[in-house]
Amino acid sequence: MSAVTSSALRPLLSPALMATLKGLGILAAIALAIVLLVHSGAMPKGSIGHKVLAAPFIDMWDLPDLLVQTLWEGLVAGVLYALIALGFVLIFKASGVFNFAQGIMVVFSALTLVGSYEIMTQRMGLPPGTVVAILALMIAIATMFVLAWLVERIVLRPLVNQNEIIMLMATVGLTYFLIGFGEYIFGGNPKVMITAQLGLPVGQTQFNILGGRVNIQHLDVAAAVIASIMIAGLAFFFQYTRIGRALRAVADSHKAALSVGISLNQIWVIVWFTAGVVALVTGIMWGARSDVSFALEIIALKALPVLILGGFTSVPGAIVGGLIIGIGEKMGEGYWGPLFGGGIETWLAYVIALGFLLFRPQGLFGEKIIERI
C-alpha cells in the first residue's frame, strides 16, 4: 500500500480497527512461522517448542467438537466476567471509586435471594414455588437498594474527593463488613440457587456436530441472553434518559455536574443500586452453575483483568474484555494448562491482560493519552 492510499484510508478506519487489523496481521505471521517451523522439521514432535507452539493447535484441528465446547464454555464464562466488570465500570465512571466490593455484592445479593427464600419457605411455612421465589427476588432487589443508599450515606459522602487508593481501601472495608454480615445472617454454609423456582431453564441439549458431541446447558444460553438484554437496556438507559445524561455528566466532571444542578448523591445511589442489580443477576447465574457461598469471591477477582484490558471506564471494553478473558482462559487451561501442571486459570487471565497492555497501554477502547504540562 502506498503512502498516499494509506493516508487516504486513515479516516475510514478508526484507530481501534487499525490496531485490530495490525494485531491480526501479526497473529497470521506468527501462525505462518509456526507452520513453516513444523514442516521444515526444525521442531520435531515431542520437543518443547512443538508442545507449546504446535501440538495444541493440532489438537484443536483434530477434535473440532472439543474446540467448539471449549469456546462455548469460554464464551459463557466471559459473559459472566463481563457482567461483574460492568458493575465495576458503572461505579467507577460515576463516582471514581474502584469498588472492590463488587464481587462480594454478587455473593451477598445471591445469598440474600436464596436466604430469604429459605426463611420464607422453611420458617414461615409459605409454599415453595415461583411466587415465593419472585417475592425473594424483590426482597433481594430492595436489599440492594438499601445497601446502595447506606453506602452513599455512610461511605461515599464523608469520603468525597479523597484519593482513589483511600476509596479503594474503604470498599475493601465494605467487603469485610459484607462478608461478616452475610455469614452472620445467612450462615456460612453453601446454598443451592433456586434456579427452577425463578423460572430459569435447566437441563442441557446435545448437538451432534463436527463428528462429535457438544453439550450446551440451557441455563448458559439463558445467561447469555439475559446478559445481552441487560447490557442493551443499560446502554439505552444511559444514552436516552435524563438520569442517564446526568450520569454521563457526572462521569466527565463532578464539579461541572454539580454546577448545573445535578445531585451527586442521588446519582450515586442510582449507580450503586444499578450495580447492585447487575450483581444480583450475576449472582443468580454464577450461583446456578455452582453453589452460593463466599467462595465465589475468587471469581469476582477474575473480573479484574477484564478491567485492565477493557479500561475502568468503558462499557464496551468490559464486554469485549470479558469475552477475550473468558475464552482465552478456557482455551489456555484446556490446551496449554497440562504443560504447566494445571491450575493456571488463577493467573492466566492477568498474563493475557498484561500482554495486551504491553501493546496498547491505554486499554482496548481507551483514547491515546497525550500528557500535558
Partner: protein, 358 residues
C-alpha cells in the same frame, strides 16, 4: 512543657539532617527501644506469640510496601506473594546449605524476593495507579500458584507444607519447635531495628527524594534527570526485599511452618496495604502504628470481648470480628484519611505549644 526544642541550636548540616533532630525525640526512641528489649520477659507467652511476634515480622513487610506505595506512589497488591518468595527462598537455602547460619539466609532471601519483585514491577513503566494495582495481582496469583504447584519448593513434602528445621546461633536454638519464644522475639527485633534503620536512611537521601519526586509528579521528576524506570524498579526491588525478609521471619520465627496457599494469600496482601494506609503513607512510624492495628485488633476483639463479659462463641466471633474490622476501616478512613501518623504529628504539635492552643 517538656517537649520543646527551644535552645537546641544546630550548628552544622549534619545535625540539621539528623533523622531525629529534636533531643526529646531521641530520648523517646531510646526509651522505646529499652522497653522493647525488656518486653518479652514481662508479658505473657500468649501476648508474645499472638501479638508481638507477628507484629515484628509483619512490620518489615509494611515498611517495604510503604516504600513502594507511600514513598513512590505505586500501589501493589502482591506483597503477600513476595513474602512467600522470601519464605520459600529461605527454606530452600537453609535445607541446601544447612551449615550457613539461618540469620544470613533470612537476610539473603530478601534478594530473591527483590529479583522477583523487579520482574513483576516492569509493567509499572507503562501503567499507573489503580491499573498497576490490579496488574500486581498477577504477581500474587502466579506466585501463589507456583508455591503450590512446584514441589521442589517445599522439598516434595507430601503435605505440600514447609516445616521449619531446627537452626542454632552460638549453640542456642533460634528456629524450629524447640526454640524459646523470647529468643525468637529478640532475633525478630534485631531484624526490625536494622531494616527500619536502613529504610529510614534510604528515604532521607537522594534515592528517597527521587522516589517521592516520582510519586508527586513523575513528568517533572523526569525533567530533573531522574530515570523513571530505574527509580520505579529500585522501589520495587527494595520493597520486595523487605517483604521477602518479612516472609522469612514470618514463617521461620513466628509460624514455624506454612502452606503457601493459605498463609500468603491475597487477604494478607490487602492486610499489609491496609496497614500502610491506616498507619499513614510515607511515614516510617506510621508503618508501625498500622501493623500494630492489623495485628492487635483481631486478637483483642476475639479474646478481649469474652474477657469483659460479652459472651460470643468462636464461629460468631469470627463473623463479628470481620464486620467490626470492616466498619472500623471505613470509620478510620473517614476520620483521618492521612492515617495514624498524622494524628501522631498533630499530637506532637499540640504538645510542643502546650499549654497554649497554638
Amino acid at each position: 512543657m517538656f517537649y520543646r526544642e527551644t535552645g537546641q541550636f544546630k550548628t552544622n548540616y549534619t545535625d540539621d539532617m539528623a533523622i531525629f533532630p529534636i533531643r526529646q525525640d531521641r530520648i523517646g526512641i531510646a526509651i522505646i527501644l529499652a522497653i522493647a528489649l525488656i518486653l518479652p520477659f514481662v508479658v505473657s507467652e500468649f501476648v508474645l506469640k499472638t501479638i508481638l511476634l507477628p507484629f515484628l515480622a509483619l512490620s518489615v513487610a509494611v515498611i517495604g510496601l510503604n516504600i513502594l506505595t507511600g514513598y513512590t506512589g505505586l500501589i501493589s497488591l502482591g506483597s503477600a506473594g513476595f513474602m512467600g518468595v522470601g519464605a520459600y527462598a529461605c527454606y530452600k537455602l537453609t535445607t541446601i546449605f544447612p551449615e550457613v547460619n539461618i540469620i544470613i539466609w533470612i537476610f539473603a532471601s530478601g534478594f530473591f524476593a527483590a529479583a522477583v519483585g523487579v520482574f513483576f514491577g516492569l509493567p509499572s513503566l507503562r501503567i499507573k495507579g489503580l491499573y498497576l494495582a490490579v496488574a500486581t495481582l498477577a504477581a500474587q496469583f502466579f506466585l501463589q500458584w507456583a508455591f503450590v504447584r512446584i514441589p521442589w519448593l517445599f522439598n516434595y513434602n507430601p503435605s505440600g507444607a514447609i516445616e521449619v528445621p531446627l537452626r542454632t546461633l552460638f549453640g542456642m536454638p533460634i528456629t524450629g519447635p524447640t526454640a524459646e519464644l523470647e529468643v525468637k522475639y529478640l532475633i525478630c527485633l534485631g531484624f526490625v531495628i536494622g531494616m527500619t534503620w536502613l529504610a529510614s536512611n534510604l528515604v532521607h537521601g537522594r534515592i528517597g527524594r527521587s522516589w517521592m519526586a516520582v510519586r508527586d509528579m513523575d513528568i517533572a521528576a523526569e525533567l530533573m534527570g531522574i530515570k523513571l524506570l530505574n527509580a520505579k524498579l529500585l522501589a520495587f526491588a527494595v520493597s520486595s526485599f523487605f517483604c521477602g525478609v518479612s516472609g522469612a521471619l514470618f514463617v521461620f520465627l513466628y509460624l514455624g511452618g506454612a502452606e503457601a496457599g493459605t498463609e500468603f494469600a491475597i487477604r494478607l496482601s490487602f492486610l499489609i496495604l491496609f496497614a500502610v494506609i491506616i498507619g499513614g503513607t510515607g511515614s516510617m512510624i506510621g508503618s508501625f502504628f498500622g501493623t500494630a492495628f492489623i495485628v492487635a485488633l483481631p486478637t483483642i476483639l476475639k479474646f478481649g470481648a469474652p474477657a469483659i463479659g460479652i459472651a460470643i462463641t468462636g464461629a460468631t466471633a469470627e463473623k463479628i470480628v470481620l464486620m467490626i474490622i470492616g466498619a472500623l476501616t471505613i470509620y478510620l478512613l473517614i476520620v483521618e484519611p492521612h492515617g495514624l501518623a498524622r494524628l501522631w504529628q498533630i499530637m506532637k504539635q499540640k504538645l510542643r505549644v502546650w499549654p497554649f492552643p497554638y
